[in-house]
Amino acid sequence: MDRPLDGLLVLEFAQFMAGPTTGLRLADLGARVIKIERPVSGEAGRQIAIKNLFVDDNGSLVFHTINRNKESYAADLKNEGDLARVKALIKRADVIIHNFRPGIMEKFGLDYTSASQLNGSIVYAVVSGYGTSGPWAGKPGQDLLVQSLSGLTWLTGSRADGPVPFGLAVVDMYCATHLTQGILAGLLKRSRTQQSVLVEVSLMESALDMQFEVLTTHLNDGGKLPDRSGVCGSGHAYLSAPYGVYATAKGYIALAMGDLTQIAGLVGLAPGCYQDRATWFSRRDELLKQIGERMKRQPANAWEALLTGAGVWCAVVNDYGAFTGSDGFRHADMLQEVALSNGSRLTTTRSPLQIDGKCLRANKAAPGVGADNARINRDYHLTS
């Protein structure tokens, strides 16, 4: 069956992570996604590397991970001819994504008002750091900085740790899901009104939305701040014992929410001491320590067998070696290879969705800067 977004044309004027991840989602769902990039150097994300890892002349490993399954159109927006071709392309597009700071797209006459004059049914999607007004509007929108400003860093780790960031660009990625949702909702609105739609998200609003449960609690509990457990390995500032991770005789085990009287019995503590549910939260530190003492006596996999057998929610903590070597990982079939222009192949992941019983796969690697200019000029009759 056709992919849901077959036939849709998306122009991505975006760099780094939130915007390009949105482009990747739309591409995997079937859209034709064209990155509009500055000639020669391309988007800045091509040079952002983790572990200093680069794949080829086209860019870093991170860039390849985020930008597979797209095309690239090199255009110097300061050049009249290039700008005219980009505008002609906008007339044919369904969606524009950009993450420039306020003022940049205006300068080129590519802001929402101008774009909707060119194309009265464009869905125009903007991702910013902190919205377009207010004292933060000009600040750099970057994942760690937004985590730090949004209060998110006080939810992980234990009380003595100080602020602990989430060790992935979770805000960028969550924001990308919001932008994807907003664009698709915008397309649905357009299909009824035949009018252009403006969709806006920001990293900060996404970081706040990510905390919607705990912020709602904060707004209704008299304004208390999150109180992480003092015990290393606790899993969630707002959940009671036994929720957390425990060191065992060999490896670590995670225990989710469960009936402490039952778990106490299973691990060799006196069940009678845990009957008052209110103490599971109020005496959390003490209880985490008591369970932690018992867990040291056996290896993690022995505990897992014992506890799982009794219906307790638990799991051994895997590293990447154990996880990627497991039958469950293999069965998820989440890996795919993309074919690089130098003839080699790169292993990466696929879209997490399955539509009509099928995984969404794509073996097209990230494009070189301007790799698709000729074809795009031809397909859309742009004079070169």
């Binding site: 056709d2 849901p4 977004l5 952002i48 890892l53 490993l61 991970t65 902190y130 007004s133 760690l144 900085l145 937004v146 400003l149 006080w154 992980t156 602990v164 960031p165 060790g167 992935l168 899901t177 949702q181 698709l184 397309l187 299909s191 739609v197 403006l198 998200v201 609003e205 706040l208 905390q211 919607f212 449960e213 609690t217 209704n220 509990d221 304004g223 899993g235 969630h236 991770v245 060191a247 670590y252 085990i253 995670a254 989710a256 929410m257 895997n318 590293d319 990447y320 996880f323 497991s326 039958d327 469950g328 069965h331 989440m334 292993t347 990466t348 992941t349 997490p352 969705l353 399955q354």
Partner: protein, 380 residues
Amino acid sequence: MLPLSGYLVVDFSQFLSGPLASLRLADLGARVIKVERPGSGDICRHLYASDTLLNGMSTVFHAINRNKESVALDIKNEADRKVITKLIERADVVIHNFRPGVMERLGYSYERVRQLNPRVLYGEISGYGTSGPWKDKPGQDLLLQAMSGLMWLSGNADAGPVPMGLSIVDMFAGANLCYGLLACLYRRSRTHAGAHVQVSMLETAIDIQFETITTYYKDGGCEPLRTASNSAHAYLGAPYGIYRTEDGYLALAMASIPQLARLLECPALADYREPAEAFEKRDEIKVILAGHLRGRPTRHWLSILETADIWCADVLDWHRLLAHDGFKALDMFQQVAMGDGFTYPTTRCPIRIDGEVLKAVRGAPALGEHNQRIMEELYG
């Protein structure tokens, strides 16, 4: 007009992942009806976050289920099943997050539901997929974090496994299902085709690690290595991290070490001239930086670094965040009212459409609050 006005979502899911997907659809204008078990309802109604109750239910339930209706129906009772069937016949979207096999046993598999309603979008979230060795395991966030390697990415090198302190896998799974459903609604607006949209928490946990797992395969299977101190991302070089100052904390994202040495007047950093050293020698660089930044207040460092366009920020708690004009400008909170008149504040939808913030009026429903109204609509 909201983008999804006129669409009907019939939601059998509970806890966080499925209900989060339907919350977003509700925010965008859809009518969402929760189908809940009579007597107890969505388990999340009584799953406490902390010890905070709000109008008799957990604050978490209130956050996830605002702007929805509730109908209490027993999916195993013949009379109630007739009502459920009628609802499904009218639905644009059906959502569930039961364990694999449950909806099939209850007679509402995708195949069966599609017979009732050929244009329906059927969305489901599982823990680990509908087949395979893990399919019957409990799909719970902390367990997914544990199994998927995610716990070795946060915190310092000696911290052991560190869970991320929110139900991050649940939330991304719900977000993924939501955009999958929206994509298929768009397809349906052109082709009239229904769809089956599936996502698992396992696929989601792998997807949110798409960068680090791709790196794992590229560099020959090296495990992530967090820095000894000030760790913020196991795969990024110095200065990436959060540092103690005289009176608080300072977050530093990517920056050139020689430039930092000049701006911060920290000569010890000037020795690290090669860009590659920012990663290779990140532990020692972080120790030097941490020692240096400790000496002055956050404001002092920010004034120097922001002027030079270095990516940095203060580290706020919610008290300072909520008092900040930057936060206030976002207008991120809203007040919603329940059917019994009880009102409470919560966050709003993070997406703006045509320049407007999307705010809801209604709070979370009481269990079965809309039974009568829905029966009248269905049976007149």
